[in-house]
């Protein structure tokens, strides 16, 4: 597959590992206190585990798996709210497959579907819009999940809905933006994040400039990386180089996809349709300042929460779950007392086990049998 296979070549991966091993010798880090690189994004987490890249790194470099998994950080109560909407009369509830099996307080969307709710899996918000046009007497609600990568798709869909004067299409807005959560993590006094591998696909929308504050205010090097093994390893090498020289900046490794300025059309659509207003709850992290994504007044008519007048739903996680500790690098997934001991992908006790790209779920799925638990 073009633009994929070239970045998976074993020769290229081996060359990068050799380069990293040489760089590792010059790093001011050891196996007992390694260079901790936070890879923010679930897509990176998934690729790292799928290709085993963490196993190939030098002993004094390791990954911390960040909170960039929109399903993982979705507060449990929001699923109950979604099911609540789906149970209303004449509603067709549309969702990405990712959210179908996430349990709320007592059930998930897939179970609600089996009980008779009209819940449909879609690949694109435009599929939901099409359903609204095909079923003018139904109320079609789209479960809008995802970071800035996915938000422009929702925005364009809503712009189209407005232009076509649709009155039976709504979104249940659970979009989140990346930076508030990173600021929240960096503000934790005892976080051990030394560097950041930023998500390439969020960056293709927002560009490179928004990350500048991490270098200037928090003195951490930043590389924007793609998702193939070569991209990830090259990004690590670029971060290691910055750590060796001590000269930090925002570097764009994923230039074939990420323009430094981002996607202007997408940014305009986001500005028109969405705004950040108030604090937002992230499962596993708690309340994040200025993180609540809502619709602008011009698009308020499409807000499912306003339209359906939903009650507040707060559902707490197991107090023994160490999700927050894992997210700031204090704890490895398998060090949580609940890991594979009551908490597994089938019965997720916390945020990081809920979706396949959560750190705990990835560890459980890909590494459970192999782990030689090395204590750094």
């Amino acid at each position: 597959m073009r633009y994929i296979d070239e970045y998976r070549q074993p020769d290229s991966v081996n060359a990068l590992i050799c380069q990293l091993n040489l760089q590792a010798e010059k790093l001011p880090y050891s196996a007992s206190r390694p260079l901790r690189i936070m890879e923010v994004c679930g897509g990176h987490t998934h690729a790292i585990f799928k290709f085993g890249l963490d196993q190939l790194l030098p002993k004094n470099i390791e990954f911390i798996h960040g909170p960039g998994c929109p399903v993982c950080v979705l507060p449990k109560g929001r699923i109950d709210a979604a099911i609540n909407i789906a149970r209303q009369q004449n509603v067709i509830f549309c969702t990405f497959g990712d959210a179908m099996r996430v349990p709320g307080k007592s059930e998930s969307l897939i179970i609600a579907r089996s009980q008779g709710c009209d819940i449909r899996m879609v690949y694109s918000p435009l599929d939901a819009l099409q359903l609204a046009e095909q079923h003018p007497h139904k109320q079609v609600v789209f479960f809008a999940l995802g970071f800035e990568t996915t938000m422009p798709a929702t925005a364009v869909t809503l712009q189209t809905a407005r232009a076509r004067n649709l009155s039976n299409f709504f979104i249940f807005c659970q979009h989140i933006t990346l930076l508030p959560s990173l600021i929240h993590l960096l503000k934790q006094p005892d976080n051990t994040i030394d560097a950041f591998l930023m998500p390439g696909h969020v960056s293709m929308i927002i560009g490179a400039t928004p990350y500048q504050f991490i270098v200037s205010d928090y003195q951490r090097p930043v590389v924007i990386g793609g998702f193939e093994p070569v991209d990830i390893l090259q990004s690590i090498s670029l971060l290691a180089a910055q750590k060796i020289t001590g000269q930090y900046r925002v570097v764009n490794q994923y230039k074939r996809v990420v323009p430094d300025a981002g996607n202007c059309n997408a940014q305009q659509a986001l500005d028109e349709v969405f705004r950040l207003q108030g604090d937002g709850e992230w499962r596993g992290l708690g309340m994040i300042e200025e993180a609540n994504v809502t619709l602008t007044d011009a698009y308020a008519q499409f807000d499912a929460e306003q339209h359906f007048n939903l009650p507040e739903q707060q559902v707490a996680d197991d107090p023994d779950a160490c999700c927050g500790e894992v997210l700031i690098g204090h704890c490895k997934p398998w060090q949580c007392p609940l890991f594979a001991n009551g908490c597994d992908p089938q019965n997720a006790c916390g945020a990081l086990m809920v979706s396949p790209e959560g750190a705990c779920a990835a560890w459980y799925k890909y590494r459970r049998q192999e782990v030689t638990y090395e204590y750094h």
């Binding site: 994004c41 998994c69 991209d231 090259q234 059309n265």
Partner: protein, 86 residues
């Protein structure tokens, strides 16, 4: 977090929609975020884009793609030169 796949645009319609091809799999996609024409007025037919949730989100820059790989080849060569194996 976001599965984005490189795909080639194999058809463009008048209404900002098009057909993308990934390894023989084709799907209708929306081109509003990248436009049906590039900055020189050339149609995007045949160009490669990054597809996510049914939208083309970014146009793949072939020159940059090659430079990433060329950079790797230099690493590869340097690695072998250092080890004196070439």
């Amino acid at each position: 977090m976001c599965i984005g796949i490189p795909a080639q645009i194999v058809a463009i319609n008048d209404d900002d929609s098009g057909l993308a091809d990934v390894s023989g799999v084709r799907r209708q996609i929306n081109l509003a975020l990248v436009g049906s024409y590039d900055e020189h007025g050339t149609s995007r037919l045949g160009q490669w884009v990054l597809v996510h949730v049914g939208f083309a989100m970014s146009v793949i820059d072939e020159q940059q793609a090659n430079e990433t790989l060329t950079g790797l080849q230099q690493v590869f060569d340097a690695e072998y030169l250092e080890q004196g194996e070439k």
